[in-house]
Symmetry: C2
Amino acid sequence: MSSSEIETRTRILDATIRLLQKQAGKGVRMGDIAKASGISRQAVYLHFASRADLLIATTRHLDEILDLDKRLTRSRAAQSGIERLDAYVHFWGNYIPKIYGVAKALLVAQEADQAAATAWQERMLALRDGCEAAITALESDGALAEEWNTKKASDALWTMLSVQNWEHLTIECGWSSRQYVDAMKTLARRAFVNGNE
Amino acid sequence: MSSSEIETRTRILDATIRLLQKQAGKGVRMGDIAKASGISRQAVYLHFASRADLLIATTRHLDEILDLDKRLTRSRAAQSGIERLDAYVHFWGNYIPKIYGVAKALLVAQEADQAAATAWQERMLALRDGCEAAITALESDGALAEEWNTKKASDALWTMLSVQNWEHLTIECGWSSRQYVDAMKTLARRAFVNGNE
DNA sequence: TCTGAACTTGACATGGTGTCAAGTTTGCCT
DNA sequence: AGGCAAACTTGACACCATGTCAAGTTCAGA
């Protein structure tokens, strides 16, 4: 019983990730996911109450697959504030491309679905915590530029690192993932660190 | 004939602006717009081929009402690169709140409608031109920080000034419009100008 | 052998966009 | 005055995706 149930659920989640990554989060219907999972459309609803519910579960599943926590420990171990800022931008900049399809779908769903909106915001709050941690680290090194305070700088960094900005720079402007990471490191350092260079 | 036709068309556009601004670009249906214009839903389609078409026309109409060109001339007249950068951020930061509802609707429509996507991109290219002009002005003053080149810096500034970032900072982070403008000026100056302060 | 969980099949409600066809109103032209 | 045409109304309908409902099938395990 439990084994086959978990199997199907996982098959759905895996298929969802596959389709969303392939199609950049757009034009993936419940029926497509069902077909890719090898079950009927209705069977999907036996495991997930709604499309939003499925998308939310999919992001969590993807975080697990990609071992989100492990990736974060590296930036958390950084010594100086500058190192920490750098490591965090590095982590996130390399993480986004791996989750983009799923994130985009949730981002779009957000506009129509309250549950999706809440889930996405919650997810993004974790990102903000990381930003605030980096800014606080800078601050306790006395390295935060005097124009900023903790809240403002954290909000600004958080905004800079949004998925939409990554989307804009890579897809719209044609930057490579590497270029994005490098530019963001430069930008963050120049923007927030006192006496750059 | 022509007078009454123009009148109805304008009435639709005005109603659309009113509703979209009031509802922050969300949950406005064709029927709502028709009702607010005092005509039937079908009559709207006599003037605009589709919802996307109406939204596109609405942004253009709004630009006219707000006298976009006039607002831009001020930043174009700036002497130094730094002044120009400042003036441009100032202009745009004060313009966004006035167009946010309509922009948001177009932004959402973009996900489903190719014509809307193209129209929005075209609209945003004008913003990019302004960014590039400011960066170029900086550059010819020898004031562009050496980490950047024209394309990278213009893309980065363009991205920073996105409507989504404004939305994020004001709505999500609770910043006032004033705080947004001030922070963006600081951010742009620190990020792109050599030897800040 | 019987039961219940997982799944299938097919029909249907909902909500919004966009289309179609047949009327009505209004104003202008000769 | 008569008549035409443009603007608009009314109501029905197709479309498309999500989500629901009900009745059946399959199959493993007690």
